[in-house]
């Protein structure tokens, strides 16, 4: 008993946070009343095989997959029909690429016909927002519980960055120049993030300058490669809407993409070298450079892998669908995903460039300061 009470006392704010988040998640799971669309909850499913389908893009005749039909019992959660039960038919294919297999507990959007009495209804999409809330709550809880105040600071910086990014998307829609805006964004993000992470001091100053310089260099590399290597076919970029300057959008994406990684490298090197100088103010230039290289090595290997997996994971479904439609892996790599590859390579190049750039900048900044102190 006593132990329990002590535990409660020690972890009071964690428990409080947990309760608050739990309430929010619970609310998100019961927010159907906020929607104007009709939402229902699947309470019962009956699944039966309804036939076969073949993949027409392959020579292999054995490539058949089963089609299923589901009879769903759905309880309506909002609107005038709240509480009513309806039966809806739905079908899906084994692969579930453009069809969904429903199970008990799923919340779905319904399209209902008929005035007072429901004459017919179809399922029109899955309601997913409650899971978005659940995931976010889990992340917030993990960050705050593990890192306390520092975690709170990281969260604030993240929220600020997200806010600024959303604002800029609205500005873009109002007709702001995307290229100028993304340069401005890079500047704002860098200054804000570094200052929040590290506070205003000479280290952060060096880190900010090196990040900006590296990003600038990476953009130049992109233009150089474009100049000598020719245009790429932007049509294979995802989510093209027409009327967009695709080259600019791609470039803006590149600037932002590796920004976090470049900042990470710059901050680590600036902090590390500063530490070396503080411990031994008479350290030789040569040794300072080799320390910088050492720190750089330690982080780049894994950092490049972070970028690699982050970019490549999203390609998986598309890759598999295309492969299964008798397109060769090499063809796909050559013609259909050049952007992901170019983006990854440019990200890697930025990370690598960040090492010498931040070593030089930090060294210069530290030397200048020392000279200033002597004068």
């Amino acid at each position: 008993m006593k132990r329990n009470r002590e535990f409660l006392k020690q972890h009071r704010w964690q428990l409080g946070l947990f309760t608050v988040l739990l309430v929010i998640v619970f609310f998100a799971f019961h927010d159907a009343f906020l929607y104007t669309q009709t939402i229902g909850k699947v309470t019962h499913t009956e699944t039966a095989i309804s036939g076969n389908a073949t993949n027409y893009n392959t020579d292999n005749d054995a490539q058949k997959e089963t089609l299923y039909e589901q009879k769903l019992t759905i309880r309506i959660l909002n609107g005038v029909h709240k509480g009513e039960q309806i039966k809806v038919k739905s079908s899906y294919a084994y692969s579930q690429i453009d069809s969904e297999k429903y199970s008990r507990g799923d919340r779905v959007f319904l399209e209902i016909k008929g005035e007072k009495q429901i004459s017919s209804a179809i399922v029109n999409g899955v309601k997913r927002d409650q899971y978005a809330v659940l995931l976010t709550a889990a992340l917030v809880f993990a960050i705050l519980c593990i890192a306390g105040k520092k975690g709170a600071r990281a969260l604030v910086s993240l929220l600020l960055n997200i806010g600024i990014f959303i604002c800029s998307i609205f500005l873009y829609e109002k007709g702001a120049d995307l290229l100028k805006m993304s340069y401005a964004l890079v500047g704002i993000f860098t200054v804000l993030t570094v200052l929040i992470v590290d506070g205003p001091n000479k280290r952060s100053f060096a880190a900010i300058v090196s990040t900006l310089l590296t990003t600038f260099l990476a953009v130049e590399v992109f233009y150089l490669a474009l100049h000598f290597g020719g245009e790429i076919d932007y049509a294979s970029l995802d989510y093209v809407t027409g009327g967009q300057d695709l080259e600019t959008i791609f470039l803006a994406g590149i600037c932002l993409t590796s920004l976090g990684a470049v900042m990470d490298v710059s901050i680590s090197i600036a902090a590390g070298l500063n530490e070396v100088v503080e411990k031994n103010p008479e350290v030789k230039l040569r040794e300072l450079l080799s320390s910088g290289r050492e720190i750089g090595h330690d982080i780049t290997g894994t950092m490049i892998n972070v970028l690699f997996f982050t970019y490549m994971c999203g390609l998986l479904p598309v890759l598999i669908i295309k492969l299964k439609n008798s397109i060769q892996l090499l063809t796909i790599v050559r013609l259909q995903i050049p952007f992901e590859i170019a983006r990854f390579l440019l990200g890697g190049i930025s990370i690598l460039l960040a090492i010498p750039v931040s070593i030089v900048i930090t060294t210069v900044a530290l030397k200048l300061r020392r000279k200033g102190a002597e004068a």
Partner: protein, 442 residues
């Protein structure tokens, strides 16, 4: 264009990273091949979840074990990252079916996909969705777990007496320091990737609510959030696993103490005459080593009472005009080496009352102070409590020499009287092997 970028990337990684850059590059290529292979296997009809599990293991081996070498740090990182991946695997498995993230999203379904491609491919895309999320988080989780494990290892090395609980606590502190930048790296990586999608959603006036319910947005969103959750949870896991493993490794310390005690008792009973003879013979042999004679910069300890007398070695080195360096304690477990021109430059100081180079560093430039960098040393004469014939060395337990000599390329000669030698010296990870052990000829 891709080719130019690839060549540039390759050149940069070699130029800036050197040998280790080449290793990172090979590891990256290994990961590319592993991923491509996994995709082909899934396409061939193998169960996606099983392939993902195997792929995750392969990626761990390539990225962590190959890149960082087989040592206790790496194993701690692999174990913790493996646990984390497994836990998230189950979590995502539960979640992704509920969230209906499989296959193509609404936007892709409207494009030219359905025109050109058949969707009846007989592959469980719900499982592929799980693979997608897991592969996405691997990089970040491995990164954090390595960072925590290797930083914690440094802590453990500098203060080996720390208990499991204290190690865990300092692991958490380390984790807090890297957390903000890790989150930022993830955030920007995904923002850059999903910018096109966000612009698309904006252009077609998706409301916030419809965005939060769309498959397109939630596929990305789930990837980033699950990765971030992984990066957070790996901190305590990695701290706990590392603390546990490093503390287990500490056991030899007890054995070392026992051996040290035994040898000290032994040496108390040695006669002065034996010592004199032995020391002279040792110095004579050492001075004949070709490695010593070729060396320009010689590192040698100034002997304390009871230790082997090194004055003959100093005398010879001065006579031959070699640059001679003597260690000086800087802080706990850390020493530096300073040049001396004669034994007059030594004075007794420090907590152990060792003869050390006189106070050099105050206000003088590097050249004046005579600091010798570890890389400069060609030949090192190393003291010990006891040594085994095959080069295992037992020091006083401060770790000064192990830590310092690790940074040198010097030829390491330990000196030890034969009666103080011991066949069975307990060693652990960070004990350095000597290149030669010199004892007197009988």
């Amino acid at each position: 264009m891709i080719l130019i970028l690839a060549v540039l990337f390759f050149l940069l990684i070699l130029l800036i990273g050197g040998e280790r850059g080449a290793m990172s590059f090979i590891a990256l290529c290994g990961n590319v091949v592993a991923l491509a292979f996994a995709v082909l296997l899934i396409t061939a009809g193998f169960p996606p979840l099983l392939i993902t599990a195997v792929l995750a293991a392969a990626i761990h081996a390539i990225t962590l074990v190959y890149q960082n070498g087989r040592n206790i740090k790496t194993f701690a990182a692999v174990i913790s990252s493996g646990i984390m991946t497994l836990v998230l695997f189950l979590f995502v498995l539960l979640l992704s079916n509920r969230m209906h993230l499989s296959g193509l999203n609404e936007i892709d379904q409207q494009g030219d996909f359905p025109v050109y491609y058949s969707f009846h491919i007989h592959i469980n895309m719900a499982q592929v969705a799980v693979s997608m999320i897991i592969i996405g988080l691997l990089g970040a989780v491995m990164d954090t777990s390595v960072a925590v494990a290797s930083a914690l290892y440094e802590v453990h090395r500098h203060s080996p007496s720390l208990k499991k609980k204290e190690l865990f606590a300092s692991g958490i502190v380390i984790g807090k320091d890297i957390l903000a930048t890790t989150l930022n790296t993830l955030y920007f990586a995904y923002i850059g990737e999903s910018m096109m999608l966000l612009l698309y959603l904006q252009k077609y006036h998706y409301s916030f609510v419809s965005m939060m319910n769309s498959k397109a947005f939630l596929q990305e969103f789930t990837c980033i959030i699950v990765s971030a959750i992984g990066c957070m949870l790996i901190i305590p896991i990695s701290a706990a696993v590392s603390a546990e493993m490093f503390e287990k490794k500490r056991v030899p310390e007890e054995q070392k103490k026992a051996v040290r005690q035994k040898i000290r008792q032994l040496s108390e009973n040695l006669t002065d005459e034996y010592r004199k003879q032995a020391d002279a013979s040792i110095a004579e042999q050492l001075l004949e080593l070709p490695e010593y004679q070729a060396a320009n910069v010689v590192f040698c300890f100034a002997s304390m009472p009871g230790e082997i007398d090194t004055s003959a070695i100093f005398a010879d080195a001065f006579r031959r005009g070699k640059k001679v360096g003597v260690p000086k304690c800087i802080s706990r477990g850390i020493m530096e080496v300073y040049e001396i021109k004669s034994l007059e430059d030594l004075e007794e100081s420090g907590p152990y009352h060792i003869r050390e180079p006189k106070g050099q560093s105050d206000g003088k430039s590097l050249e004046e102070s005579g600091l010798i960098l570890p890389e400069e040393i060609d030949f090192a004469v190393v003291p010990c409590v006891s040594c085994s014939g095959d080069g295992k060395r037992l020091g006083h337990g401060g770790g000064y020499y192990d830590r310092y000599l690790e940074k040198t390329r010097a030829y390491k000669a330990a000196v030890c009287r034969s009666k103080e030698m011991c066949a069975d010296i307990p060693v652990d990870e960070h004990d350095l092997l000597m290149d030669v052990v010199i004892s007197e000829k009988i």
